[in-house]
């Protein structure tokens, strides 16, 4: 009884809207005034003929791989070091977690300056830093690089989220009972083997949660990218393309199609996780 209002609200505002979006995506309402008649999956297949769409999908994949991989690796490493009992752990933990408190927009504005693409005399930001410390060869175009620009775009995201991943992993590490490690050590495991065969398998649920949280943030990425580079093709991703389709091209059906693809991409991450956790709950 108590939860029924929220169930109704979610049914209307989440699933109802989702359904409405999918229905819009299957019409030919390509401007704001026309009625739009049903055209089936035409928009969904037609969009793959557009060069910009494949480009933005590629960008999203590069961004996701670098961001999720980078944040997991860095977060794990930080948690590992913390767990080894660094001095001043509390302070360091707070420092690494702080970026989480900042919005992606603020992060983006700062990193836009840090990742300025000026080289040589015109270098500012990180390129300037490289010059000062004598590493001119590391200067590059950052997010304006045609092939790896999106990897540069993932750097601020990694910076922002790796502290959070660290916190997740640290909780995971702490959740591994000491007697299990002791038992492994008594059985003649080296420290590395303890981690490899005892701790890591027990961290699997944590890794999976982190993967899903980061994965869905990454596929929906919009604010960070707009704050760093605006609505430029060189850093186009589906969410930005959707915004342009709706508000600049005034093409609701196209925007809805892109939105539908984003939902589908996110659900590829989320649904297996839900199934898995439901099964686990049932088992216990």
């Amino acid at each position: 009884m108590l939860v029924s209002p929220s169930i109704v609200a979610i049914a209307v505002f989440v699933y109802g809207m989702l359904g409405w979006n999918f229905r819009l995506a299957m019409t030919d309402k390509h401007d704001e005034v026309s009625e739009g008649s049903f055209v089936g999956l035409e928009n969904f297949t037609g969009i793959w003929d557009q060069q910009r769409w494949s480009l933005s999908v590629n960008h999203a994949i590069v961004f996701t791989v670098v961001f999720v991989g980078g944040a997991l690796a860095l977060g794990w490493l930080l948690a590992f070091l913390m767990e080894k009992g660094l001095r001043g752990e509390g302070t360091l933990r707070a420092i690494y977690l702080f970026p989480m408190a900042i919005s992606f927009v603020a992060t983006g504005v700062v990193w836009r300056w840090l990742m300025n693409s000026g080289i040589g005399e015109r270098a500012v930001g990180l390129n300037r830093l490289f010059e000062v410390v004598g590493l001119e060869s590391l200067q590059w175009q950052w997010f304006r690089d045609q092939d790896w620009g999106m990897a540069a775009m993932a750097i601020p995201a990694i910076w922002q989220m790796s502290g959070y991943v660290m916190a997740l992993f640290l909780a995971g590490f702490r959740g591994v009972p000491d007697d299990l490690r002791e038992a492994a050590r008594v059985d003649g495991c080296t420290e590395w083997q303890v981690y490899r065969h005892v701790v890591l398998p027990l961290l699997r649920p944590v890794t999976l949660s982190a993967l899903i949280i980061l994965g869905h943030i990454s596929l929906k990425a919009f604010d960070l990218i707009v704050a760093v580079s605006g609505k430029q093709i060189i850093t186009d991703v589906p969410a930005v393309f959707m915004w342009v389709a709706v508000f600049d091209s005034h093409d609701p059906a196209k925007g809805a199609t892109i939105a539908a693809y984003i939902v589908i991409a996110v659900s590829i991450f989320v649904i297996p996780y839900l199934v898995w956790s439901l099964r686990k709950e049932r088992r216990s």
């Binding site: 390509h30 704001e32 015109r122 304006r144 093709i233 060189i234 508000f247 005034h250």
Partner: protein, 430 residues
């Protein structure tokens, strides 16, 4: 014990809610009683919040309130350059059928979306009443008419085809004459490149589209350019191929893309780059004292000329005000449009904003330096409309052109660009 606490908190919160509800109701009642107040308010929606433009709006507001003692001006400006955010908000207001009394829009095809949706009322009656067709250039009236109807009143004119350059850098590179044609321009770019400076500075992707419109105009000529927006346009022909190849050649001399147009213009002012093609709002940025501008001296630190091949043609864009259907205070809006169209209003606004009036009878003594040049050309030149700034193409078409140019910047494929531009013209629904 804990229960009782919870109950106390709940009662307090509930009580506070009721109290605030009463308070809200009371205030509303108070505000409603002088009903006349609401009828006097005229809500003017714009994106003029920056230095210069906000001052200009203020000056027009003073004239408006002096001429209409019964009306009060309500400034509903939304910050954000070129009105990106303002227009997103405006869309939601119009869709909810709660339009402002009048709103700013680029004159020309950019208004088509509103016209199609039936949001705008034609203002031909004002043009007749105020005899505006006699004071605006005939070509301007032609270029903003849609099927004989006019939907807005232009307040100011900006020029898009301006080439800004640094005389010192040109001298150093051995460029003695200001390039007048595209061939001369390319030769000059090459000389600057040899001298080790950035030949042409460029900003984010939209500035490349801005450059493209100047190159198209320069390469195709004014007549062929103006024909691109009519039924007998030729986007696939050899003349267009040549123009796009010119664009490719010129782009090959561009420096690293900057964040936006200001840093790109600054490269010219600082002597890092030789040329920049940008609209004449750059003049204020070069000329105004810091912090609003760079405080540079015109003709010595920076100079200007029509972009190559476009001498004798004024590529214009204009901010204008409209009359939305269902405006709460239509009479007030019409009074505002009259001020916006008047000589007095335009001469108060434009010197502050750094643009020229759309009217031909402006007081020339108010416009000095660059603006004097622009005003002279406005009265005598042939006119062409800007692409990027909403004169010749509607939003969908402009977005498609931006997309094509953005993709071209990566692929450098002229044939693909031409196909994309031809498709954009075909699918624009304009």
């Amino acid at each position: 014990m804990r229960r009782r606490w919870m109950a106390a908190v709940a009662v307090t919160v509930a009580g506070m809610l009721t109290l605030t509800a009463c308070g809200g109701g009371g205030e509303e009642g108070a505000a409603q009683s002088p009903q006349a107040d609401a009828a006097k308010k005229v809500e003017v929606f714009s994106w003029w919040t920056g230095p210069g433009e906000a001052d200009g709006l203020q000056a027009m507001k003073e004239i408006f309130e002096k001429q209409n003692p019964g009306l009060t001006f309500f400034d509903a400006a939304v910050a954000g350059g070129s009105g990106d955010k303002a227009r997103a908000l405006l869309t939601s207001k119009l869709q909810a059928d709660t339009p402002p009394d009048t709103f700013q829009g680029h004159a020309g095809a950019e208004l088509q979306g509103y016209i199609k949706a039936g949001d705008l009322e034609p203002v031909n009656f004002l043009y007749d009443e105020l005899k505006l067709k006699d004071v605006f250039p005939q070509q301007l009236v032609d270029q903003i008419s849609v099927g004989g109807q006019i939907y807005s009143v232009p307040v100011n004119i900006h020029r898009s085809n301006v080439m800004w350059f640094n005389p010192g850098v040109l001298k150093e590179a051995g460029v003695t004459e200001v390039p007048g044609t595209i061939e001369e321009f390319v030769a000059a770019l090459e000389k600057v490149k040899q001298a080790g400076k950035v030949p042409l500075s460029i900003g984010s992707e939209w500035t490349a589209v801005h450059l493209l419109e100047s190159v198209l105009l320069g390469s195709l000529g004014t007549e062929a350019y103006n024909q691109l927006w009519t039924a007998n346009s030729d986007w696939s022909g050899p003349a267009m191929t040549k123009a796009l190849n010119d664009f490719k050649t010129i782009m090959s001399y561009a420096g690293d893309p900057q964040d936006d147009w200001q840093p790109a213009a600054k490269q010219v002012a600082d002597g890092e780059a030789a040329f920049n093609i940008m609209g004449d709002w750059a003049y204020g940025y070069f000329h105004n004292p810091p912090d609003g501008g760079l405080g540079k001296k015109s003709k010595t630190d920076f100079d200007w000329a029509p972009s190559p091949g476009t001498g004798g043609t004024f590529m214009w864009l204009s901010d204008s005000f409209t009359l939305p259907k269902g405006a709460p205070n239509r009479d007030g809006a019409v009074a505002w449009l009259k001020v916006a169209a008047s000589k007095e209003g335009q001469d108060a606004f434009n010197p502050k904003k750094g643009s020229i009036p759309a009217r031909k009878d402006a007081d020339t003594s108010l416009y000095t330096d660059y603006l004097a040049d622009a005003l002279k050309d406005w009265g005598s030149n042939k006119l062409a409309g800007s692409i990027q700034h909403g004169v010749t193409v509607n939003d969908a078409w402009r977005t498609a052109i931006n997309e094509a140019v953005g993709l071209f910047q990566q692929s450098k494929d002229v044939a693909a660009l031409q196909t994309a531009l031809a498709d954009a013209a075909k699918n624009s629904g304009q």
